[in-house]
């Protein structure tokens, strides 16, 4: 495995470019919102004097293009302003919930991709049998069911009926973890994480599963698989050693897309399971018309997503050195 530094640098540059454009779009969306453009930064309950101070701080007394550069400058320094609702800096508020969102997202992605890849292999191998039809129909079901609906049903069954899992939050009542690490090592945290992660994973596994299946079908048509079969290797060995390894590549790129769905799915799942994450915060911020917090939370969610896209691409390039920028898509 050789790291292609040129590719790495190109993709990194592209990531920054993407973030810059998203920030720019957001700037204009919030400025073009109906009503007073200043509302994007100014809490209407502020006094005249406070408003003027803030206007200067954010450069709102300047023309639009100057404001734009002030805004970019503030972003670069990690300055998102203060939340109207929590009367605290956006960065502080967001950083309190960001880790929880990442844990939920990563765990469900891993689960979804492990199950998805294995399931895809099985369905490809058993092509034409009854299990394939059943498997595909089931997978399409998981993809078509509204997540909150699935979440509510899981909650009703596993939490209220069977009492196996807690129904909300990230920790038992009154428990305080001394650090993020202590939180991650504590069984009760995982206990709380289980149902939301499962809900999200159910939603996410369709993509890798279907992709793995069709990628496997492609590979199975290749000559070397037939050769291996003819050499008398066991079916399972051929399936995993030859076919699956080669078929897995496109699934890795798809992970980038999967991250996108995971980020979106978080919003709903966090609300159903009272998970203290970024998605719920965004919903709260939007419904409270807390512009700075909405803007900050959105940019951060986008940043996570763009970064994960980047990681997936790099991973892909490591696995398959033939890939260059032009070879994608």
């Amino acid at each position: 495995m050789r790291v292609n530094w040129k590719f790495f640098a190109k993709r990194f540059g592209q990531m920054l470019l993407t973030l810059w454009i998203i920030a720019t779009i957001l700037f204009f969306i919030f400025r073009l919102m109906p009503g007073n453009p200043l509302v994007a930064y100014i809490d209407p309950t502020f006094t005249q004097e406070q408003q003027e101070i803030l206007m200067r701080q954010f450069g709102l007394d300047k023309p639009l293009w100057q404001q734009y550069f002030v805004y970019l400058g503030n972003l670069l320094q990690g300055e998102f302003g203060d939340s109207f609702f929590y009367k605290d800096s956006v960065v502080d508020v967001v950083s309190k919930v960001l880790p929880n969102t990442l844990y939920l997202m990563l765990l469900s992605l891993v689960v979804a991709y492990v199950i998805g890849v294995l399931g895809g292999i099985v369905l490809a191998w058993r092509r034409g049998e009854k299990i394939e039809t059943v498997g595909i129909v089931f997978t399409l079901f998981t993809r078509a069911a509204p997540q909150f609906w699935v979440g509510m049903i899981l909650l009703a069954v596993f939490s209220f009926k069977l009492n196996w899992f807690p129904s909300g939050g990230s920790s038992p009542a009154g428990v305080v973890y001394s650090s993020e690490l202590a939180k991650l090592l504590s069984p009760s945290f995982w206990h709380h994480l289980f149902l939301p992660a499962l809900t999200l994973a159910i939603y996410l596994l369709g993509l890798p599963l279907l992709l793995m299946r069709s990628s496997m079908l492609d590979v199975l048509g290749e000559a070397y698989v037939d050769m291996a079969m003819m050499r008398g290797l066991s079916e399972r060995r051929v399936m995993f050693k030859y076919a699956a390894r080669n078929a897995a590549l496109p699934v890795v790129t798809a992970m980038a897309v999967g991250v996108g769905y995971a980020v979106g799915g978080n919003v709903v799942v966090e609300t159903v399971f009272s998970w203290p994450g970024l998605g719920r915060l965004l919903v709260k911020a939007v419904s409270a018309s807390d512009y700075p917090l909405s803007q900050g939370a959105f940019i951060l969610i986008a940043a996570v997503m763009v970064f994960m896209n980047f990681v997936a691409d790099i991973l892909y390039s490591l696995l398959d050195p033939r890939v260059s920028l032009d070879g994608r898509g």
Binding site: I21, M33, P146, M152, A256, V263, S287, F298, A302, G329
Partner: protein, 295 residues
């Protein structure tokens, strides 16, 4: 001229039928769509009540009724007929689904066509733009847009149109890249056909099935998104959609009450509508990659 059109429609329908006949999945999907469309058209004749009406019996509000001959799926906690809501709910679902799909197909196909046909810097710019849009988190974007522009199904459609063209555009582009190398395109070029003509008369027919595939997936996404947005409380309060019904059932605690006749049907219909799109999509996949048939 006239007969020509009829002939065209006819051959189109026949082609569609042949395509559907080849794949059970696609056939099932098409039948589901057909039923839903019929339901939407004849909703006033099928639904016994106005979905907004709070039904009263002898001055008393008929709330939380169990399913019966009078109320096929019972009533909501505010005395509205659930079955009627379910029937009328198909309209916004299909409206959102089809209009979002329409924009996604048009935008995505245009971008893909232009990028793939002209290549070079045009391609580069359009595809980098698609990369950027891939970086925009979908559901949060919808929430921000709907939250600040106001709760309306059209804002949901707008958000989808703004974002979801990216998937279509990418796939269409790569398809165009192969199609444009075919000999009949070369022939058209040599005979002096304009760019527009080549793009829309010669290339477009070859990529349309792919566009429709993505369109049918977008229908599903749109319906699901509308449901999720409704669930989070940003839905259009004037429109009784399936998403709204689920939201209503959720805030009225249908689950705790064990009112599965309220909670399950809208979810099932959403799944059916979304799956119908997927089925058709999967059917076309087989057509588009005939190689798989051999395995």
């Amino acid at each position: 001229m006239k007969t020509n059109w009829i002939g065209l429609v006819k051959s189109g329908l026949v082609g569609m039928y042949r395509f559907l006949k080849q794949d059970r999945f696609a056939m099932v999907g098409a039948i589901i769509y057909l039923l839903l469309i019929l339901l939407a058209i004849f909703a006033p004749y099928i639904a016994p009540y106005d979905p907004h009406q709070m039904i009263r019996e002898g001055g008393q509000l008929a709330y939380n009724r169990l399913p019966s001959a009078q109320f096929l799926l019972g009533t909501t906690n505010m005395g509205r007929d659930i079955f009627s809501q379910l029937v009328y709910g198909v309209r916004p679902a299909l409206t959102v689904g089809f209009s979002a799909a329409f924009f996604v197909v048009i935008l995505g196909t245009l971008v893909g066509l232009i990028a793939g046909y002209f290549r070079g810097w045009v391609d580069n710019i359009l595809m980098r733009l698609a990369d950027v849009v891939f970086g925009v988190p979908f559901e949060p974007f919808v929430i921000v847009l709907v939250g600040f522009l106001g709760p309306s199904v059209w804002n949901i459609v707008l958000a989808m149109a703004l974002l979801l063209w990216r998937d279509t555009a990418r796939v269409i582009r790569s398809q165009v890249l192969t199609v444009r190398e075919r000999s009949f395109i070369e022939a058209a070029r040599v005979s002096g056909a304009s760019h527009l003509r080549i793009m829309f008369v010669y290339i477009a027919p070859n990529i349309l099935p792919l566009s429709f595939l993505y369109g049918s997936l977008a229908i599903g996404w749109a319906i699901l998104t509308e449901a999720a947005v409704s669930f989070l409380g940003f839905g259009d309060p004037d429109v009784i959609s399936w998403g709204y019904m689920l939201h209503d059932a959720y805030v009225s605690q249908a689950l705790s009450r064990g009112a599965f006749y309220w909670f399950v049907p809208p979810g099932v219909l959403i799944m059916l509508a979304v799956m119908a799109g997927f089925y058709i999509g999967r059917g076309s996949e087989e057509i588009l990659h005939p190689r798989l048939k051999k395995v």
